[in-house]
């Protein structure tokens, strides 16, 4: 693009949105240069603050006309570099598109704009006894738009699924500015599941401007059990036994000793400090059913011989248990100046093997690794602790992270359960999938977006990467607003 073309393009953006909503220059754009994967930074050409779907359409059309790459940005909490700006591209900040357009208690749906914060949907549904199920631990800040781009999950996704299982309909601006509607407000559909294809596409297919979500009735009651073991393997075996019993808990989480210690120091959740493995199992649903299931659960868990068990006595006690779990990552982060979170998946029955190997890999590299994970669905969250100020530590940590991802692939799992491929895991996508698989994905991308304008450079292994900087907590995390899971 020539200098005159570039100036014309910025003029056109400014004419459409007014000067206050088109940010250029280093200082105003600084906050948009990276996401929660702070190792990567890139300077965009401009950041635009949009107020309506029509403005998104017009901005996308201007970008398409001038062949300028763009991406939508929610709250920038991506842990994989998904909302890292495309160099010289436009960042379309969606946060002002944050209206809840409708909550329908009969259909049990909510229609929202993409900048609505995850938790705000449940808050709006609360008066009707409903809630929005996927619960990433960043839920007080991350947006529905970001959630759907990554198919985000949380601790309670075992029974009712991830974001994709809760999105019914979309209005989408395709990368050339064409607007389409897909899905609807029914749980059922006809024809290829295009909503299913769009969710999890990491912003590569365009921008969602209106989203119809499914709401669920709030569970009447919970039964939350904490069990402490003297080995991680024993906690893992308890999970296998619960699965074999035919129970379907809402959540099954495990923490290792380092994570327990850190969580205790941070929030005082009442966890036993000497446990090598701590299991949290939660049943949810109607009273009679949960009462009947909890008897079976206790019987099964007792057979796995925990040295200590604790049943949440009331809602406050339950909240305390979850607070420890949900703050575990940022708490572990305090033990170290920097850390990387991975989120690979392994078959549940190979959790023990995976954890032992991760421990060995950490020892080999001389790097401490803490573990907190969604045991019920085999989703690991190894936390790799390092000090970015020490020469070579970042590189060693990255290397260890890569070996852990390869381990997940070798065990028949996946490189990501919920954080997405983004910028960070691109090179491993080609190890998980074959050339023909990637080629099919690439062809779909190119047919939808021949100019590769939408979120250029993400997900596919062959794209160019910006320079590595350092891993530090997300600004919101440092401020204690959010914590990692």
């Amino acid at each position: 693009m020539t200098t005159t073309d570039a100036a014309d393009f910025l003029d056109a953006l400014t004419r459409r949105l007014g000067p206050d909503r088109v940010l250029t220059g280093a200082a105003p754009m600084a906050a948009y240069e990276s996401d929660a994967l702070t190792a990567f930074r890139a300077r965009p050409r401009a950041v635009v603050l949009v107020d309506s779907a029509e403005e998104v359409v017009d901005v996308v059309r201007l970008c398409a006309g001038a062949n300028v790459p763009f991406l939508a940005r929610g709250s920038g909490t991506s842990l994989s570099g998904g909302s890292l700006p495309v160099h010289d591209g436009v960042v379309i900040a969606m946060n002002r598109l944050n209206r809840i357009l409708e909550v329908d208690p009969v259909r049990r749906t909510a229609v929202v704009e993409p900048g609505v914060v995850n938790l705000a949907v449940s808050d709006a549904a609360e008066p009707y006894g409903l809630y929005y199920s996927p619960d990433p631990s960043s839920q007080s800040v991350c947006t529905i738009g970001g959630n759907l781009a990554f198919n985000s999950g949380g601790a309670h996704c075992l029974k009712y699924g991830m974001t994709s299982n809760h999105v019914l309909g979309l209005e989408v601006v395709l990368p050339d500015g064409e607007v389409i509607e897909i899905g609807g407000d029914s749980l059922e559909g006809v024809g290829p599941d295009l909503v299913g294809l769009f969710v999890g596409s990491e912003g590569l297919f365009g921008i969602a401007t209106k989203i119809t979500l499914r709401l669920l009735p709030k569970p009447e009651t919970y039964f939350t059990l904490l069990a402490a073991y003297d080995s991680l393997a024993a906690a893992g075996e308890a999970v296998a036994a619960v699965v074999a019993s035919g129970l379907l808990p809402g959540a099954m989480e495990i923490m290792d000793n380092l994570a327990i210690e850190a969580a205790e120091a941070a929030v005082g959740a009442g966890y036993p400090l000497d446990a090598e493995g701590l299991l949290i199992v939660e049943l949810e649903g109607e009273e009679q059913q949960v009462a009947a299931e909890s008897e079976l659960l206790l019987e099964v868990v007792r057979k796995s011989k925990p040295y200590l068990e604790h049943i949440a006595s009331d809602p406050d006690d339950r909240m305390r248990i979850w607070k420890g779990r949900k703050s575990a990552f940022s708490a572990v982060g305090r033990l170290s100046p920097d850390y990387i979170v991975q989120d690979g998946v392994v078959p549940r029955s190979r959790l023990g093997e995976a954890l032992t190997k991760i421990q060995h890999l950490g020892e080999e590299h001389g790097i401490r690794v803490a573990n907190v994970f969604h045991a019920g669905d085999g989703n690991l969250h190894p936390l790799i602790l390092f000090d970015g100020r020490v020469e070579g530590e970042l590189e060693r940590a990255e290397e260890l992270a890569g070996e852990i991802l390869r381990l997940c692939i070798d065990l028949g799992g996946s490189i990501t359960g919920e954080h997405g491929v983004g910028m960070e895991k691109r090179q491993y996508l080609g190890e998980m999938f074959g050339e023909a698989d990637l080629d099919a994905m690439r062809r779909i991308r190119m047919a939808i977006d021949p100019g590769e304008l939408a979120n250029r450079g993400k997900m596919f292994p062959d794209a160019e990467a910006p320079a590595l900087l350092s891993h530090a907590p997300h600004p919101l995390e440092a401020a204690g607003v959010i914590s990692r899971e």
Binding site: F150, I182, D193, E293
Partner: protein, 373 residues
């Protein structure tokens, strides 16, 4: 149709067959291909590409070749106390794994945990260039790459020939029973359904069945045997009227018959329409306008879908139905069709055409799978 169907025995043979053909039509268990037979197409009969390749009860995953009868899959799962929660249709009729995914249809039980789209974890398919493509992963949680498994749900053989699929499975409820209220007015039944649905009791199935004496409301509840009676009573109290109860074998047979379309006479076309409690009225109006208020029909899965049995003698009115559905923004998929019922599986309103056109262009540039629907 061209010559005898070919019967590939492996994904590689399917790929070869696709590469050698101009127009390909995959067929699973389809006993009555009349509805979707395509002039001049090579039929790929996938019934020999059959068998469960991996079943890991402790992982909640099962993988099977596309031609595997769902009846075989369900039997294997049942032996371990597990099931396919999306409640596949026409299982006894011979429906296959690939056909079920390609049709993308679900039974009444999809209400509890979700539809086939929510339980399909991984696929292998042959695209229109004859390449073997894998998407998803054989674990219950995965966010890597585009969600190609979901794209194949409802694709009706137009985006690729499925050769292998992995599903998530769940433990089966220990026991189930059904509450039934007969002869309600539709409004009254929808209102009662909403009341029970909004209550605390978790429901497996909730169907409204049209009959001569009005609408029957049927609510199936499942879970630990020990708690079932108390939960049935709790739901019945919300209905506040005479309630009959079906349990044991009667309950099981009842819902089997529903998903085999045993309630619809065999010469009817059975259509599935996505619905909500708020759009049921619009469908009723369409049927009334076409003088079809007496056709057998069920509003299923918490009124999220309708199954409508369109009579054989009214086949000539299908174009009128297509038009009326489009006007009312309703869509229908033919799930069963007698010979001579036309060759259009989808009727009514469509969305996403432009996106679909681009996806078809990517996966099937030469149009080997046709450009139907």
């Amino acid at each position: 149709m061209k010559g005898a169907p070919s019967r590939p025995g492996s994904a590689a043979e399917v790929a070869e067959a696709v590469r050698g053909a101009e127009l390909v039509l995959p067929r699973g268990g389809g006993t009555k291909p009349a509805l979707w037979s395509v002039e001049g197409a090579d039929v790929l009969d996938l019934s020999t590409l059959s068998g469960i390749t991996e079943y890991l009860p402790s992982e909640y995953t099962v993988t099977a070749l596309a031609g595997t009868p769902l009846a075989e899959v369900e039997a294997r799962l049942a032996a371990e106390g597990q099931y396919l929660p999306f409640d596949p249709l026409l299982v006894a009729a011979g429906s296959t794994v690939g056909g079920a995914v390609a049709a993308g249809a679900n039974g009444p039980g999809r209400l509890r945990y979700g539809g086939l789209r929510d339980f399909l974890l991984a696929v292998t398919f042959i695209d229109g260039r004859g390449e073997i493509v894998r998407g998803g992963a054989r674990v219950v949680k995965n966010a890597a790459g585009f969600d190609l498994p979901k794209l194949m749900v409802g694709s009706l053989g137009r985006l690729g020939v499925l050769t292998e699929c992995t599903f998530k499975v769940f433990p089966h409820p220990e026991s189930c029973a059904t509450l039934r209220v007969a002869g309600m007015a539709l409004d009254e039944a929808i209102e009662a359904a909403g009341r029970v649905g909004a209550g605390a009791v978790e429901i497996e199935c909730l169907d409204l069945v049209h009959g001569l004496a009005g609408w029957d409301l049927e609510i199936r509840i499942g879970g630990r045997s020990f708690a079932l009676d108390a939960r049935l009573k709790r739901a019945a109290d919300l209905l506040d009227t005479d309630v009959a109860t079906l349990s044991g074998d009667a309950d099981v047979t009842h819902w089997r018959t529903r998903r085999e379309f045993g309630w619809a006479s065999p010469d009817t076309s059975v259509l599935k329409l996505p619905l909500t409690p708020a759009t049921a009225g619009a469908l009723e109006q369409v049927l009334a306008d076409l003088d079809a208020s007496q056709v057998a029909r069920v509003y299923s899965a918490g009124i999220q879908q309708a199954f409508v049995a369109w009579p054989a003698e009214r086949v000539a009115d299908l174009p009128a139905l297509d038009h009326a559905l489009t006007q009312s923004k309703l869509t229908a998929l033919a799930l069963r069709a007698p010979a001579g019922a036309g060759n259009q599986p989808v009727l009514g309103y469509r969305t996403g055409g432009e996106l679909l056109r681009r996806v078809e262009q990517a996966l099937d540039p030469a149009g080997r799978f046709g450009r139907r629907a």
